[in-house]
Symmetry: C2
Subunit: 321 residues, 2 copies
């Protein structure tokens, strides 16, 4: 089945929303649906769209995996509450840190997060909710990347460990599948989502675990969480495709109170890019760079050194893990 793309420039936002609301209502009837909200653009838009269609018959879970940005769960829940949408936040951080323990290989880290999310946490929620419909924020780029072999296939049932045959009646709804990211942002705007949600910079699936080199521990996540908050606040008005802070495993010499110490290093990356396939470091001013470094080393005692990535993609990638 080929999917008919709707380009952002051809998108009639109001008409699109009305159509999708009707389709979701027709599919779900008087049943129950469930979805997982990550706080990213796609899942935020699908949450708002689903609630417009189904109201309280859509149960939205926000699974706090412990590797999210600073105050993320509370902030996302508050944003949606303001729109009259109740989100159930579930603290699953222990399960994720347990799964990540001892892993240093980036692919193994990614896999541990995916498996914990689908097989361990979300699977039980779906079963408990008795919902027969799953709303998923899949967009056309995800489908393309699956076909190209860049990402794993978005076969949610399989990922949940649910045999669609046995679990007859389960249906997955992907109302955004004809859109690209720019179209999704337009729909988010049309649904009345705040700009800081529908215009948010991309954030990796493995969340802050992708921003830690080596083993992911609660202590390291606490450091990179603070560095990320400082970096995002400092660069929020910069016209960049993406910006991020990475916690290195290497220790470097530093000075605290006139004494030599071995401390951590944070690497800042900020990218100019159109489509993430190639990217250049944003030419930030040294004023900005030095302010970020000063704030990070002041507010995070473990960090003595901050760098800025000056490589293009390729040979670098946008994220480090």
């Amino acid at each position: 089945m080929s999917i008919k793309e709707i380009k952002a420039k051809d998108l009639n936002t109001k008409k699109f929303i009305d159509e999708k609301v009707r389709e979701i209502r027709e599919a779900v009837g008087d049943g129950l649906a469930v979805n997982a909200l990550s706080g990213g653009v796609d899942s935020s838009v699908v949450t708002a769209l689903g609630h417009k269609a189904l109201g309280k018959r859509l149960k939205t879970y926000f699974i706090d995996n412990g590797i999210m940005r600073l105050d993320e769960p509370a902030r996302v829940a508050a944003d949606f509450r303001k729109m009259g949408i109740e989100i159930e936040v579930l603290d699953a951080s222990k399960a994720f840190f347990t799964a990540l323990k001892g892993l240093t290989d980036p692919e193994e880290k990614r896999e541990a997060i995916t498996q914990t999310f689908y097989k361990k946490i979300f699977r039980n929620l779906v079963i408990k909710s008795k919902a027969r419909y799953l709303l998923q924020g899949t967009i056309l780029t995800d489908v393309d990347e699956t076909v190209a072999g860049i990402k794993r296939q978005h076969n949610v049932f399989e990922q949940l460990g649910i045999d669609p045959q046995k679990a007859f009646g389960y249906k997955i709804l992907e109302p955004l599948i004809q859109l690209r990211k720019d179209g999704v942002r337009k729909v988010g705007h049309g649904l009345g989502l705040p700009k800081h949600i529908f215009d948010r910079i991309p954030f990796p699936g493995p969340a802050l675990a992708a921003r830690v080199i080596g083993e992911v521990t609660p202590a390291k996540i606490a450091i990179v969480k603070k560095a990320t908050a400082i970096t995002e606040a400092a660069l929020k008005n910069v016209k960049a495709f993406q910006y991020l802070a990475i916690l290195h495993e290497d220790r470097v010499t530093g000075m605290r109170d006139n004494k030599r110490v071995f401390g951590n290093q944070i690497e800042i990356r900020c990218w100019d890019s159109l489509d993430a396939r190639t990217a250049k470091p944003t030419r930030l001013s040294f004023n900005t760079l030095e302010k970020i470094a000063a704030k990070i080393t002041k507010e995070i005692p473990e960090v003595v050194s901050v760098t800025y990535n000056i490589t293009t993609k390729p040979t670098s990638t946008i994220e480090a893990v």
Copy 2:
């Protein structure tokens, strides 16, 4: 005994050189002297001064520890040959790499290099040479730092494992001990040393071992040697106190030939500083930074990512190890 400082501005270079030449001749008489040349400013100046005083009765060794800059031994020997001074280059790299094997702690790495240099290599040369005089490029800053406990004491006999009592007759000559670095540079100029020697940027005692995070191996030294050459060539006309390239142990994701690879990261540092006690990152242009990164990732296949340090000292230090 207090040492009478001669400030660079009060230094009469010709008079100083004449005096020191006479003092060295008076001390050594018709005996033999020996010194070790590292290629740095102080030991280069003391080598030229000693040869002016003693000619062939000063035996100068250049100990190649394998962790020097690209082509350093040959280049230093050639520079001195042009001035009519013969240097004996000794390849001791195996002894140093053996001593460094398995060490990751910065202090242990430094200690292994110091011990191998003094106790294992230079000690035998001194004994074999039958010289009773050691010329040493100690400057007043070294003495200050010894007193302040920043560096180890410059007690060369002890470091050589030679008991001055038993080895009665050994004498150490330190003709530059009243000077600071700026005075030494003036003397180097006065002795006719080429500007690229007497104006050279500082280089750490543990050489490129100080530019490798983690265990020092021949393969890692080969990478950081190339990165250092590229960085020094690109920044040689920049008015900076010091610039350097550091090889990290952490591996980051990169792209080579459209495939994901895990590669090395090089960190560039370039410092504005008066006295090395505090320092700021030099505000290099992004043109320069991006060119360095492109050249490093092009010419060193192992490296996929390059960063620039944006922290001040403190909390950073000039070197990373």
